[in-house]
Amino acid sequence: MSNNNASTNLAVAHKAVKQLRLEASVRRIHVSQAATDLKNFCLQNAHKDPLLMGVPSGDNPFRPPKSCGLL
């Protein structure tokens, strides 16, 4: 029984080391580069963002229409 536990712990430890090796080998870029890209994405798409810019009542499906004209 104790041998079984020992080999399971060994397998778990092997797996953990393998996973860490994989994560350590990931290619990374500088935060300055990554942050600039995030900022640029925000700014480029800002005009398309209704929650940011607001949408005129006419186009907005959730806002109640201003007036109801009865013919």
């Binding site: 041998n3 990374r28 935060v31 942050a35 995030l38 900022k39 963002d49 209704p50």
Partner: protein, 399 residues
Amino acid sequence: MYPSIHPSIHLSTLTSISSSPVIIYVHLAVQQLQTLCFLANFPLAKMAAQEVQPSETIAKLKSESEALKTKLEEERAKLHDVELHQVAEKVDPLGQFVMKTRRTLKGHGNKVLCMDWCKDKRRIVSSSQDGKVIVWDAFTTNKEHAVTMPCTWVMACAYAPSGCAVACGGLDNKCSVYPLSLDKNENLAAKKKSVAMHTNYLSACSFTNSDMQILTSSGDGTCALWDVESGQLLQSFHGHAADVLCLDLAPSETGNTFVSGGCDKKANVWDMRSGQCIQSFETHESDINSVRYYPSGDAFASGSDDATCRLYDLRADREVAIYSKESIIFGASSVDFSLSGRLLFGGYNDYTINVWDVLKGTRVSILFGHENRVSTLRVSPDGTAFCSGSWDHTLRVRE
């Protein structure tokens, strides 16, 4: 053949002695001794010795593990040359935001636990503690469909991309798909299809790009990808050390990955094809309740019981922003981005929704209205509104 150390009694002489117990005992002991000496001369003995002392090898692996972790942190730190809010210093600050509740969806008899938008930007599916799953038309607030699940605490629900089905699950440990019928009178429960089977509660589910596959996360510590039609398990994802509470799929343009967050305080990024965990982030101080990809797919946000939301950049492989305030002491249950990624909405356990400027790291608005914890929050597919669900039994659509 025989080692230089000869046992004093040779085996062959023992066999001729009568078989009284003591003699047999000695016989066996001598046999063992001989075998051990025999083995000692072979390389196999080395392996046997290792079997006998696995604790040595484990210790070696553990120290390698620690060394790798330190190396990982060092590599990440080397590239940490600036903070996100510093890069965003020149960006115009956001003005005052006024977001009003436009619709309140009432009808659940108990805590709302999860909700999802349909791609048509007007229908919403929500699930609650009392086992009810309701499909609403958010424009009119009408209930279009209602299903009663056989279990309580339906913690996960999702709309299929086609709009023709919904998936849900919770304490039943399963994820079931209900095709939505156009006939209001039809009993949806009759057509129910059980897709996923976990060994603990279902915490989150999401269809992939089509109605054919579902990704699930569970209290059993795993995530899994399922084929809807056959119910077959296509891939499983192991790596979390505790319950997995949330998941989000990467925007389709960025490929086959998804992120999950769990009670082990880790957020893991997975490759859907191989089942491999490709990146892992552990900076939160408590359970991660919600994860959501940034619209470009290069980053993701998380909300946690440690009362903070954080932004992790995938290409820099590190946390790049923390959204927190000393006055916010309750956990964030749910997060989502606005369309451009500039705003991060966080639903909290103190009944409020905090709106954060993602670039500058500051809070731009705090929204009240719910009378209990906000448990779920999603921005609509076209970004015109967002919906929050709460333990106060209601859902609110705001913009």
